[in-house]
């Protein structure tokens, strides 16, 4: 197993290098221009100078190697310096991957965005799983009952109604129609600067301050989390149901019942455990999407996480930002694929990697 994992890890290095080059190539070939969104009042000669100052006049290959140097060498070294104060080389003036629109290090922007993305998108994933598993189990156990039909209906809605519709619908109901002094009113705009802390403005710790901060955080997360949880739950509950149905008709279930085991034990210990094997891998494969952020939902609720960062980068032709973000997503996808494979082997004794 360890051998297999190590072999796979070794193999990811050339894969990721190739991916990074392909991303760079696509971005370079795509017709876009970082000065394209500037007002037309900026004359063409000035635009040329701006492009030159961004290094765009260099050949493509040089720019790729520069990015590789910045991303694979300078960024890790900088992390060592900032995290542990280990200084290797020239620490103060290291050339890091720099965004064209903000002129600041891309990695810092990503770190700034991580909390809200993990809170909102991650929470929606957890909530989605918590809703999906029981629905899947009950739907399969009572196949074609009214519960199964209702579950199928809700899944279909969650699956087919886009989040830009459900999101705006929730905003219209909870932010617009409900008066904003009501207890049920929810904010339509996420405050990324909100900090959950018990310290008040004078710096003293109060439980009531913590409570009001927590409840504000809860309220502003509620709508985006619910919109995404509906979507996630719809997907996972269908997997859960199908996998449960596969197992329920197996011989070992009949054996367990014949042994005189309680129905609860048969269902929740024998069938559920075995049915979880494919579902766990599906869940693991979905984790990189959390980091990718939910571009549309983030945009609707102004969560301004990683998804929004990517969209702003694409719109502004901020190539270093888009390149770095997409590459990090690629890394996550490759790693979580590996994790899913390893998990599969750990959970299912029938599967052995040599």
């Amino acid at each position: 197993m360890l051998n297999y994992t190590l072999r796979r890890l070794m193999f990811t290095i050339p894969t990721l290098l190739l991916i990074s080059f392909i991303i760079f190539l696509i971005l370079d070939l795509a017709p876009n221009d970082p000065t394209g969104n500037l007002p037309l009042t900026i004359p063409p000669e000035v635009r040329e100078k701006i492009r030159a100052s961004l290094g765009l006049d260099a050949p493509m290959f040089v720019r790729y190697l520069l990015w590789c140097n910045q991303f694979f060498i300078n960024e890790p070294l900088n992390m060592l310096y900032e995290g542990f104060n280990w200084c290797i080389g020239d620490c103060e003036n290291r050339l890091r991957v720099t965004s064209w629109s903000t002129r600041s290090p891309v990695v810092d922007l990503i770190i700034e965005r991580l909390p809200q993305t993990l809170w909102v998108i991650g929470m929606s994933y957890v909530v989605g799983i918590l809703i999906a598993v029981p629905i899947g189990v009950i739907s399969a156990y009572k196949q074609y009952s009214w519960f199964d039909q209702a579950g199928t209906f809700v899944s279909m809605i969650g699956f087919s109604v886009p989040t830009f519709f459900t999101g705006v619908l929730l905003i219209v109901v909870f932010s617009v129609m409900i008066p904003n002094d009501s207890w049920f009113w929810l904010p339509s705009i996420y405050d990324t600067t909100h900090v959950v802390t018990g310290l008040d403005s004078a710096g003293e710790w109060h439980f009531s301050t913590l409570w009001s901060n927590l409840s504000f955080q809860f309220r502003q997360m509620l709508m985006p989390v619910m919109v995404l949880a509906l979507y996630n739950a719809a997907q996972i509950s269908r997997f859960m149901r199908a996998s449960m149905l596969d197992n329920l008709s197996q011989d070992y279930v009949r054996t367990a019942r014949a042994k005189g085991l309680k129905e609860k034990t048969v269902l929740l210990v024998h069938v559920l455990r075995n049915s979880m094997i494919p579902v766990v891998t599906v869940i693991a494969l979905g984790v990189p999407q959390i980091f990718g952020g939910a571009i549309i939902t983030e945009q609707i609720f102004k969560v301004n996480g990683l998804g929004q960062l990517l969209i702003v980068g694409i719109q502004g032709a901020d190539i270093p930002l888009v390149q770095t973000l997409t590459f990090l997503f690629a890394v996550l996808i490759v790693i979580f694929n590996l994790i899913a494979d390893v998990l599969y082997g750990l959970l299912d004794p029938r599967i052995r990697y040599e």
Binding site: P31, N32, D33, T35, G36, N37, L38, P39, L40, T41, I42, P43, P44, E45, V46, R47, E48, K49, I50, R51, A52, S53, L54, N93, T98, S99, S101, T102, R103, S104, P105, D108, L109, E112, R113, I171, S175, V176, N180, P187, S188, I189, D191, T192, T193, Q299, I300, K302, N304, Q308, L309, V312, Q315, G316, A317
Partner: protein, 569 residues
């Protein structure tokens, strides 16, 4: 006697208490917090490194220019004591230098004095050739900038500059602090992240936290020159989302106090305003949605000589065709469909300020399909059996391109319909805005190359002086492979009279004479029908009813007078 004393005492007490109230009323930060939403998030607070409107306007809360434009387009002294002119001696007789006097006693938000050295530094910062300064055009023609003493700056130009209000005027060209940016010159400019995100300024607010492309938190500048301003102690500048979501946040949910640039369908905006939380404000500047006619042949068969002056256009070089195309358009209807309160029909490519606006072309406001047909008949373009006019084997078949944008595609469809009524066949094309307006040399779809018969977009100019803008239509500014397609004269218009008027304007200082020339140049192009103006587009924003003091300014940053904003009682 006693009564008199009592009354005097009571009066005195009353006076004292009112003055105490007045004092608390006038204190900085008395109105708490204000929320502003821009649906494009600010990326950086240094306008010299970003030409984006959102960045310039966010920065205008913190850093300020020597002079700026008010809502009427007039120059007002901001950090300077007065606007220098030839009359008051501030501008030299030969028009080659301008002398600014800085208001005495100004300090930066860190408490250090604001001096002429900061102004000189700002100029050097932008003019550094390796810095990639995005406002370089503001410093066009500047030879040197000299600090005479702590409060006097002279800007010298290489040649006579009749309109010397480029450097340090308006939101695009604010003064940055020399001490903070000293190590950020030239190639080092982008590396100064801290300074670019948290510039020290003289404005009413200073940055407390900057989250790029997201939210800026600000607090009142304790060293602001007017101790009673700003009325708000803290400010949130949120970015992201879409124009309709930010309109909703102000007009419907009441979460925000000010929303910027609400380009959404007019009927949706009106229904949001009906909720009663806020007010829509609109103002007009110089932004004109127009159709540019290609006077040269865009045929792909010509290879490298495509859309160059070597080959005149097969039918658009006929003025009768161009005029008929303009006459067939119902501009009122376009405004109603696309812009509502945010637009008005126009017949000029130079619609404002008022002294430059011509009235000679207003006939275009009325659609005249019959007249257009008659004109084409008279010019010998005969209607074919397929409903398309032709002459000598040349069919009136037009490729009409623009950028991808819902309103522009509506306009294309309507105009195609009207043109079909005068026997002109139209093929529509839209190109992603990033490509269309981007200068990618390898792309055939940029608006400079104009590999189409006509194209539609909007353009305007900074500030109030049209010299550079109108100067963009002289023969020299025709985009071509020789100048790497860097030119602003999209119609490839070349008229010696026009060039002469443009040259004359460059040497004229008298404002009325300049206005006469600008109008004449506008009329020349309008009456040659090389540009078909459609809609004068205004800016639409919204503010909460509880927010007072908003004056929408289309000539400068919308947040130009944020120091005067306050909360209604």
């Amino acid at each position: 006697m006693k009564l008199k004393h009592l009354m005097a005492g009571a009066l005195g007490a009353a006076l004292m208490s009112t003055s105490a109230i007045a004092e608390s009323h006038m204190a900085q930060g008395r109105d708490g917090h204000v929320n502003i939403i821009y649906w494009q998030a600010a990326s950086i607070l240094n306008p010299y490194l970003s030409g984006g409107t959102k960045d310039i306007e966010a920065a205008s809360l913190v850093i300020e220019p020597l002079a700026r434009y008010d809502e009427g387009g007039a120059l007002v002294a901001w950090l300077a004591t007065e606007i220098p002119t030839v009359e008051n001696g501030g501008v030299s007789e030969d028009l080659r230098s301008i002398t600014w006097h800085i208001t005495p006693g100004l300090t930066w938000s860190d408490g250090t004095p604001f001096t002429a050295a900061d102004v000189v530094f700002t100029g050097e910062y932008c003019m550094d050739p390796s810095g990639g300064c995005q406002q370089l055009a503001k410093f066009d023609g500047v030879e040197s900038i000299v600090a005479v003493d702590d409060l006097t700056v002279i800007v010298n130009f290489a040649s006579a500059k009749p309109f010397p209000y480029g450097p340090f005027v308006g939101g695009q060209s604010p003064i940055i602090q020399a001490a903070q940016f000293a190590d950020c010159m030239g190639v080092a400019a982008p590396t100064c992240t801290d300074a670019n995100f948290n510039p020290i300024g003289t404005g009413p607010f200073m940055v407390s936290e900057f989250r790029a492309n997201d939210t800026i938190s600000m607090e009142a500048n304790p060293n602001y020159r007017d101790p009673s301003k700003p009325a708000f102690a803290t400010l949130t500048f949120k970015g992201g989302g879409s124009a309709d979501a930010s309109a909703r946040a102000v007009l419907e949910t009441g979460e925000f106090d000010y929303a910027w640039n609400l380009q959404i369908a007019p009927e949706i905006l009106d229904s949001m305003e009906a909720a009663g939380n806020g007010t829509i404000v609109s103002g007009f500047g110089t932004l004109v949605e127009r159709i540019m006619i290609n006077l040269t042949n865009p045929s792909a068969d010509l290879g490298d000589e495509r859309s160059t002056v070597a080959h005149p256009h097969p039918f658009l070089s006929d003025i009768a065709v161009r005029q008929a195309l303009s006459m067939a358009i119902d501009r009122e209807f376009l405004v109603e469909v696309g812009y509502g309160q945010a637009g008005r029909p126009t017949c000029n490519v130079l619609p404002a300020p008022a002294i430059y606006a011509s009235t000679a072309n207003d006939g275009c406001l009325v659609q005249d399909i019959a007249g257009a047909n008659a004109m084409l008949d008279a010019a010998g373009w005969e209607m074919g059996s397929d409903g398309v006019r032709a002459k000598d084997g040349v069919r009136l078949s037009i490729l009409y391109q623009t950028s991808t944008n819902a309103v522009r595609q509506d306009f294309q469809a309507l105009i195609k319909q009207w043109w079909s009524e005068i026997g002109v066949e139209t093929e529509l094309k839209n190109v992603d805005a990033g490509v269309f307006f981007g200068g990618d040399q390898s792309s055939p779809d940029t608006f400079q190359k104009l590999f189409a018969d006509v194209e539609m977009y909007a353009n305007n100019f900074d500030g109030t002086d049209p010299e550079a803008y109108m100067g963009g239509f002289v023969c020299d500014k025709i985009p071509s492979p020789e100048n790497a397609w860097l030119g602003t004269n999209m119609p490839r218009y070349c008229n010696p009279d026009y060039d002469a008027a443009s040259a004359e304007m460059a040497g004229t200082a008298d404002i009325n004479e300049r206005a006469r020339l600008a109008k004449a140049m506008n009329d020349m192009m309008m009456q040659d029908f090389v540009i078909i103006p459609l809609v004068d587009r205004g800016r639409v924003s919204a503010h909460a009813n509880s927010l007072e003091g908003v004056v929408l300014n289309t000539w400068d940053s919308e947040l130009w007078n944020v120091a005067d904003w306050s909360r209604a009682e």
